[in-house]
Structure formats: C-alpha cells, structure tokens
C-alpha cells in the first residue's frame, strides 16, 4: 500500500511561489507601500495554506478529526497549530469580535511577519502587537480546545 499521492508533493517553495504568482497576477492592484504588500501577501498565504490543508484532509479519507483529552492539551499546543482549517474558522470568529486581533494573527502566523513588521503594517506600536497577540493566542487556543472536545 502507500504510494505517493499525486498533488501532495507540494513543497514549501512551491507554496510560496504559488502565493507570489497569485499576487503578481493581481494586475489591477496598486501597491501603496510595503505594508500594503505584506498585508495582502498574508491573506493570500492564509488561503493557500487552508486550501492545502483541505486537499490533504480529503486525501486522508475524510480527515479523522483528532480527539485530544484535556490533560494532554498542554503538550499538543504546538501541533494544534497544524490544523489550518480549524484555525481558519476560529480566526474568522475572532475577527468578528475584534478585527484588529484577527489581522495580527493573520500577519504573524500566516504571513510570517515579525512583531515589528506587523506593527508597521498596522501602524500601531510593537507593544500593542504583543499585548493583542497574547490575548488572541489565548482566545484561539481556547476555541480549538473546545472544538476538539466537542
């Protein structure tokens, strides 16, 4: 059994390339500045990665959702970040309550920006980014744990 799954040997470089291609294809977009570019790139990355996760889940025959006991929660927190789909959903809920926190997570997690770069894009201080990140991280983590228990 086993065997390579066509379409899933997508390597990270290709992921990045795909995002880049999508970006430059947006001919009608006028890049206002670096910050603007970063912002759009992060959104793009988020979509690509969620798509990637969906196709992977599909390949795993319906993607057995992992059930994690609460006791084990602390140690699996990093792995929880691998569930792009659940994260994407939770992030939408967060953005509904607090749009800026949603943007911060999008830029940092999906866009890979540093605290300083995030601050530059959103025109707020680094300290604010860190404070908001702390709460956003706690909030999203809580959402994902809830989702697993359901």
């Amino acid at each position: 059994m086993g065997g390579e799954r066509p379409g899933h040997s997508l390597q990270t470089t290709e992921l990045v390339n795909e995002a880049y291609v999508r970006l430059v294809d947006w001919k009608n977009v006028q890049w206002q500045n670096r910050a603007h570019f970063f912002g759009v790139a992060a959104q793009m990355m988020r979509r690509i990665l969620v798509d990637f996760a969906r196709s992977r889940q599909y390949a795993k025959r319906g993607g057995e959702a992992r059930k994690v006991s609460l006791a084990a929660a602390a140690s699996v927190s990093a792995e929880r970040g691998e569930d792009f789909i659940a994260l994407d959903d939770a992030l939408k809920s967060l953005a509904a309550i607090d749009a800026r926190k949603g943007r911060i997570v999008e830029l940092r997690f999906f866009g890979g920006l540093s605290v300083e770069e995030t601050a530059e894009v959103l025109r707020i201080s680094s300290r604010t980014v860190m404070r908001e990140w702390s709460l956003a991280q706690a909030w999203l983590h809580r959402e994902l744990v809830k989702g697993e228990q359901r």
Binding site: I97, F110, L140
Partner: protein
C-alpha cells in the same frame, strides 16, 4: 459580546497577567465585582494563555513544510530497501529521513537514511555524494559513525549505518544545563573524530549538535561526514528562489568563510566546533540573531560575547580557547585539531587533577599528618585551584632579609560570604585596588600574582602570611545583595594572629565596578593610615583602564607570563592582544605585552628573537606614549636596550628609572639584576634579585634568577644549592638543570655534573643515539670527553641556514675544550646575529679560556661593553 464588554475583558486580562499569580484570584474578584460571567471569561482566557505554549508561534509556512515531510516519511515505514526493512521513523533532516531498520540478513538493527528526491536528482551530485560517503566510510575511528552501505535504487538513494542508541547533542543541550567536565569530554571526543577525518583530508563542514550522537555510556559519534558539501551546492543553486529553509538550520554553525561561499578547509570545522562549545555552555549559539540576515551580519562582524557573561566560575582558559576557535580570520584560529586538542586536554587534566586533590584533601586528615610534604603540596595545589595548577612554592626558604625594613603586607583575594556570589571581578579586582592603594602608602605589598595563589575560600589567612613572610595579612570578604556590595576587611598580625584593624564598608553600588573598587580601597587606606603613618609618595598607582574585560584579560595575561614557559607566553600574548584591542589606551597591558615578547625572544633565536624584539619595542613605545612613568614599560625598555641594542648606558638608565617609578615591582628589580649581572656588578645584582624575591617569594623564576646571579658571581656552591631548591619544587622548570650542570662543572664536581646531565638528557628526551654517544665519551674520557662530544655535535648542526640554536652557547662549548678559533667563529656569528647573550660576554665563566686573546678584547669593544 458587546464591544464594551470585550474591551472590559481585554483590560482585566492584561492587568491580571501583570500581577503575581498568587494575587490573581483576589484581583479578579475585585475587578469583576461579582460579575461571574465576566470572571469566567477572563479566567478561562488566562488558563488558555498558560496552556498555549508555542501554539501558532511558528509561522504557518514552516508548519506546512514539517507536515509535508512527515507525510512523506510516514509512507515509507514498513517498506524495504534491499535487505533492510524500515521499522520506524527516527527523524527528518534537511537531506532526508532517518529510519530505524532491520538488517534481515545479519539480523541486527541499523539506521537507514533515505535521501530526498531532490537531493539525488542530479547525477553529478550523486556521484560526489557517493565518493564522499565512501571516503567517510573509510574513516576508522571510534568517534565516527560506521557506514555499512551506500544504496542506490530506482526508488531512492540511501545510506545504511550503525544504529546508535542514544540522544543527539541537541537533545542533551535542551535537557539541562551542562557542567564543564561534560562539555570538555564531549568537545575532546568531537575533536578526536575531526582530527582523524582531517588526517584523511576530509572536512566535515556541518558540525552541529544534531550531527553528534551521545550513547548512554557517554561515548560519542559524529555523523554525516562529507554530506554537507552537497547542501552547499544545493544552496548555491537555489539562492535565487527560496533556499532559506535549507540554510536555516545550519547558518548558526557556519564559519564566516563558509557563509560567504568561499572555499573552506579544516579550519571551518574548528570554527563550527567553537560554536558548539559556546552553545553547550551558554545554551545558545554565539552569533544567533532574530533573522537569518541578523545572524549572518553577526557572524561577519560581531565578536562573540564572553562566556563569563553567561556562566560564573568558568576557567579563563576556556574563554581563551573558544575565542581563538571563533576568530573570523581563519589564519588566527587554531590551525589544526592537534593544537586544539592539546589545549582542551590540558584544561581537562587540570580540572581532573583539581577534583582529585579536593577529594583526597577531604578524604582523610591522617594522610596530612603522616606525610607532611605531600599535604603541603595538596594545599598549594588547592590554592592555585581555580586557574590552573602550578607549584610555585618554596618550603626551604627562611632567611631572606628585608632589605629596607619596610612593613610588608599580603592582600588576600576577597571571599564571598555566600559562595554562590563567587565572582573573580570582585575577588581579584578589589584585591588589586587594595594592593595599589597600600603600595602607594609606602608599604611593601605582595603583588597580585602572589595574591592570586590564595583564592581558595577555605584559605587560612595567617598561613598565607607566614608563607609569604609578611608582617600583616589583609583578609576581606564581601556580600552581594540587589546590586549592592558590602566589604569587610581585617588586618591580621602574622606574628601573633591578632586582628589589628577592622573595616566595614557601606553598601556600594556594583554598577560601576571601578568606582566601587577605588572607593573601598580609599576607605581601607584611610583606616590603615592611622596604623602605618604614610610615607606616601605623591605618585598614585593607576589601574589604567575603565574596560572591565580588558582588565580581566590583563590579569590573566600577566598570570600566564609569570609561568615563563613558551606555550604560556604564547597564550599570554594572545590574551594581552585581546586586552589592548578592547582598550587601546591601556598602558599597563602594552607594557605587559612588551615583557612577554621579550620572554618569547629569550626562548628562541634568530628570526624568532628579532621578531620578538621588534614587537616588544612597538608595545613599549605604545605604553610609554600613554604613561611615560610606567615602571613595567621602563624595565622592558631596559631589557631591549641591553639585550638587543647593546646600549648598556641606556639600559642602565631605564632599569634605574623602573625601580624608582615603582619600588614594589618585582619585575623591575629582577630586570635590573640581570642588567647588573652583565656589568659585573654582582653584589648589587644579588641585592636586587633578593628584593625581587622578597616582593614575590613564591616566584620560581625569581628564585632561579638568584641562582644565576650567584653563578656569574662565581659563588658556585651557593648557586648549586639554589638551583637544587628550584628543581626540588619543579623539576621541569625551564632550563634549571642546565644551570645546575654548569655550576657543578665550574666547581669541578664532574661526577655529579654528569649525573645531572644524564637526568636532564632523559627529561628532555634527547635522541637515544646521542645519549649513547655522550655516555661512551664520558666513560672513556671523563667529563672532558663529554664536552668534546658536545662541541662536535654542535658543529654538526650549526652554520646551517635554519639553525635554531644559540651561537653564543656554541662558543662556550668550544672555549671549554680549548678550540679557540672555532669559539671565535661562533662568537662572530653570535655578533652578526645580534644575540642577546653577548651582553654576558665579560662575565660568562665558560669563556674564560678566551679572555687573554686580542680577538676577545676587540669583540668586547665592538659589543660596547
């Protein structure tokens, strides 16, 4: 949730996180004012915050990359390559995955590394890979992973190696802080593996903690030889796209030349190992930055932060070793693994020896009582403790008079009241300030090199005072709390053990170390000035730098200088060069460097000697430009004028100036005595060397110099006694054997001279053939026969262009056997080479047979004596 409500949650959440966990409940009860729903919301967020750990801290793209490789890897478990069945995934690396596999033929466990598709795509890559792997598999060394097979199949390329049960050094580092002995043990094993590889002309290129496996029994294996070369190639090709992920793992351990894409050689492994050692001690790599480009910039431009900034109690020697490994310019690093191993092993042995001594000292008191001498040696070894081992101890000296009747004091290093506060900067630094202060009050104060011997926390102050034949001991301790220091000092009378004065400081700020040290020294001085009416000269002794690191390095450099061996002198130069790099206006360090170069010159001849002279003059000029009254600079200048310029009048002036500038400098007196030897002023020379000894009684070098002054004064019996004393303390101390042999010879005691000569020849490992020739010569024709044989052997070697010996010595050998013409030939060569020994032309007893020859007078005139 309303925006107002959310805002409220935000505020309480942040406030709660800022206060102490124990007070959180109280705070929340108050802040939520009975609103249970609000409190639940905030509390659950705080709980989630505590659990979140590294949740979404890693950028999504990296997470995706990890998922991808895991997916791919998992799919291979259960498959077979040739007769290897993959059982489980052990790890995923840049080049591929590593599996635990069963070798079904030999029924054993092996590790199979399956290379990435991309990796083996290019045929030339593959060829090179196979070639390198073959070379690596040919290395037969217990610290290098054994490669069983290199497999190439349609499906994948793979390497089969022995399976090591254990953990990687990476895992070990993240487990818990590492202790020095373990760090050294691991470093030495890695260096051993690399030495074997380098001997086979194989450079590893990718030394990092992930590539080192530690077995449960402590045995270590270095993995992945030669594979890195492929990564480099790959990186270079892909640089335009996104090779970041590939470099990411390794850039921290790259050498500057490797990062710049230049040709690399063995020395790149030395650099990378330096990074690994730094990481084992500090927990992070020395050049790591927030981003790859930061790391890259640090690697090219920044100096590594000293290890002592991270860990207390580290030997300075380790700092020196890692610093040398991490030099940007590979020509300034260790050049071979052998050189590095020598230093690492020496350091480890000193540690082991220390430990043993500590153990044996506490093991049983009766041992001490039964064997007085060993116990004393144990004690001395303990004192030398933290820095290294050195038996600079004299048990038989009793009656050296104090020439000027001044009161003498030993200042002990300060002791921490709480041992965990131990910090050399306070212990030695404050002692140094006190020494300068008391010296400026006209007291005869033992120099810092003496104080350094008493760093042991259990040191009995009075015993130290007796050993140094001092009238008083200043013993102090200190206490640290919240950035403040409090120092207590007691002046003890060595004769009756009474506390004569006590001083206790106010709490002082340690932020400005030098201001604190000077304030304390000043206050102690005030307290003691009542007891010792100040005969103070207005000159104020200067520390001379405000850079703490430069100061530390200076202290270390002068300590190494005091050992007077070629390797220590080399190290001393390196350390002092670091000091003046940190503070180019540090006159004392420049002067110290000048002295060290002179010592190096005296070990060598020819080019080494002249190079040393030039460097010494450079350093002394820098020192004098900064401080024209610096004693150590003037004494260095005296030595260069006398030994290299044959300017004896000038040398005399400089030496006098040095002892006047600082009458407490034993180095100044010692240099002056050497000058006086050459001038034939033996009584003065002996008086000066005695003063030097009085200032620093435990210096073996001063003790031996006393012997040489006696020898030139032709007081042979006393000289013989003195040399034997030195040998009794340290049989390997420099050329003391040689001195003893010539003194015995001059006394006419040939049988004993022969006895010691043979001991020396054995100690210094003369070639067997030479030993036999000497023995035969002595047995047939007595001492004179041996001298003839020596002169003959001298001729075999000398007058070759690269002759490393001393021509002056050749002249002595020939003069002793009556070969006058030959002797003058040697003297002529000595003059042409400008050998420093010619300053002793008029006093060397070995040249007596030449003195009535007109050629001798002429030479004396030409040298300017």
């Amino acid at each position: 949730m309303t925006p107002e409500r959310w805002q409220q949650v935000n505020e309480i959440y942040h406030d709660a996180l800022e206060i102490d966990a124990s007070q959180q409940a109280t705070f929340l009860a108050q802040a939520c004012a009975g609103d249970a729903e609000l409190r639940d919301e905030v509390e659950s967020l705080i709980a989630s915050h505590d659990q979140a750990g590294s949740f979404i801290s890693e950028p999504a793209l990296k997470v995706a990359a990890r998922i991808l490789s895991k997916d791919q890897a998992m799919s291979r478990v259960g498959r077979s390559f040739s007769h290897y069945r993959l059982e489980s995934l052990l790890g995923v690396g840049g080049m591929g995955e590593v599996y635990l596999a069963e070798d079904t033929k030999l029924d054993r466990h092996v590790a199979v590394k399956v290379l990435n598709e991309k990796f083996s795509q290019h045929e030339s890559n593959l060829d090179r890979f196979i070639q390198e792997a073959k070379a690596a598999s040919a290395l037969n060394h217990p610290n290098i992973l054994v490669i069983h097979e290199i497999g190439v199949s349609k499906e994948a390329n793979y390497i089969v190696s022995e399976f090591i049960e254990g953990k990687t050094l990476r895992e070990r580092i993240s487990e818990s802080p590492m202790q020095l002995p373990e760090v050294l043990e691991i470093s030495i094993q890695i260096a051993n593996a690399l030495r074997a590889a380098h001997e086979a002309h194989l450079v590893h290129r990718d030394i990092k903690p992930e590539n080192i496996m530690i077995r449960p029994d402590g045995y270590l294996k270095v993995l992945d030889f030669g594979l890195a070369k492929l990564i480099e190639k790959k990186t270079a090709i892909k640089q335009n796209t996104t090779a970041k992920a590939v470099i990411l793992g390794t850039v921290n351990y790259m050498s500057p030349e490797q990062a710049k894409g230049e040709q690399v050689d063995e020395r790149t492994d030395i650099f990378s190992l330096g990074v690994v050692i730094h990481e084992m001690i500090v927990g992070q790599t020395p050049f790591a930055g927030a981003t790859i480009s930061d790391t890259f910039a640090n690697l090219i431009n920044a100096e590594p932060q000293p290890l002592s900034d991270f860990a207390a109690n580290l030997p300075d020697e380790l700092q020196r070793i890692t610093f040398k490994m991490l030099r940007k310019d590979r020509a300034q690093r260790y050049q071979t693994m052998d050189e590095l191993l020598t230093d690492l092993k020496a350091l480890k042995e000193n540690l082991t020896f220390d430990e043993k001594l500590v153990r044996s000292a506490s093991a049983g008191q009766h041992v001490k009582k039964q064997h007085q001498t060993p116990a004393v040696l144990v004690l001395v070894a303990l004192l030398a403790g933290a820095i290294g081992l050195e038996y600079r101890f004299f048990s038989t000296r009793k009656t050296l008079s104090r020439p000027d009747g001044k009161t003498s004091v030993v200042v002990l290093p300060l002791k921490p009241i709480n041992p965990k506060d131990h910090d050399q900067l306070y212990e030695i630094g404050i002692a140094d300030s006190l020494i300068l202060k008391l010296g400026s009050m006209g007291l005869r104060v033992r120099p810092l090199s003496v104080s350094r011997q008493y760093t042991d926390i259990k040191q009995d102050p009075l015993a130290a005072g007796r050993e140094q034949q001092a009238d008083f001991v200043l013993a102090s301790n200190y206490e640290l709390a919240r950035g403040k220091i409090r120092v207590t000092a007691q002046l003890l009378n060595v004769a009756n053990g009474q506390v004569e004065e006590t001083y206790q400081s106010e709490e002082k700020d340690v932020a400005n170390v030098f201001a604190m040290q000077d304030a304390i020294a000043g206050e102690v001085g005030n307290v003691l000035s009542a007891r010792f009416p100040t005969t103070s000269r207005p000159r104020i002794a200067k520390r001379g730098t405000t850079n703490e690191d430069a100061y530390r390095l200076y202290l270390q450099g002068m300590y190494l200088f005091g050992k007077r061996t070629p390797p220590d002198a080399q190290k001393a130069v390196e350390v002092l060069e670091q000091a003046v790099r940190l503070d180019p206006n540090y006159a004392r360090a420049w002067a110290g460097k000048a002295h060290v170069h002179l010592t190096i010159g005296s070990f060598g001849s020819g080019a080494t000697m002249h190079d040393a002279y030039r460097k010494s003059v450079e350093a002394v000029n820098k020192a004098l430009a900064l401080d024209k009254n610096l004693a150590d600079a003037h004494s260095a200048l005296c030595e260069t004028k006398m030994a290299y310029e044959y300017d004896f009048a000038g040398a005399g002036r400089e030496c006098k100036r040095a002892v006047e500038a600082d009458p407490n400098s034993s180095l100044a007196h010692l240099t002056y005595s050497r000058y006086l030897n050459g001038r034939g002023r033996f009584d003065e020379a002996i008086s000066e060397v005695k003063t030097a000894i009085d200032l620093e009684p435990t210096s073996l070098f001063s003790q031996r110099s006393f012997g040489t002054s006696l020898y030139y004064a032709r007081r042979y019996p006393e000289a013989i006694t003195q040399f034997k004393r030195v040998i009794a303390v340290d049989k390997g101390f420099g050329t003391t054997y040689n001195w003893l042999v010539v003194a015995l010879e001059m006394q006419g005691n040939y049988s004993e001279a022969y006895e010691w000569w043979m001991k020396m020849a054995t100690l210094y490992k003369y070639p067997k053939e030479a030993l036999q020739a000497y023995r035969a010569a002595y047995e047939t024709s007595g001492w004179q026969g041996l001298l003839v044989e020596r002169a003959r052997r001298c001729d075999l070697e000398s007058f070759k262009p690269d002759y490393k010996g001393v021509y002056f010595q050749g002249a002595v050998e020939h003069a002793k056997v009556g070969q006058k013409d030959k002797a003058f030939e040697y003297l002529k060569a000595s003059f042409q080479r400008h050998e420093k020994w010619l300053s002793l032309l008029k006093v060397e007893p070995g040249l007596d047979s030449l003195r009535d020859d007109p050629r001798f007078d002429e030479l004396v005139k030409r040298v300017g004596l």
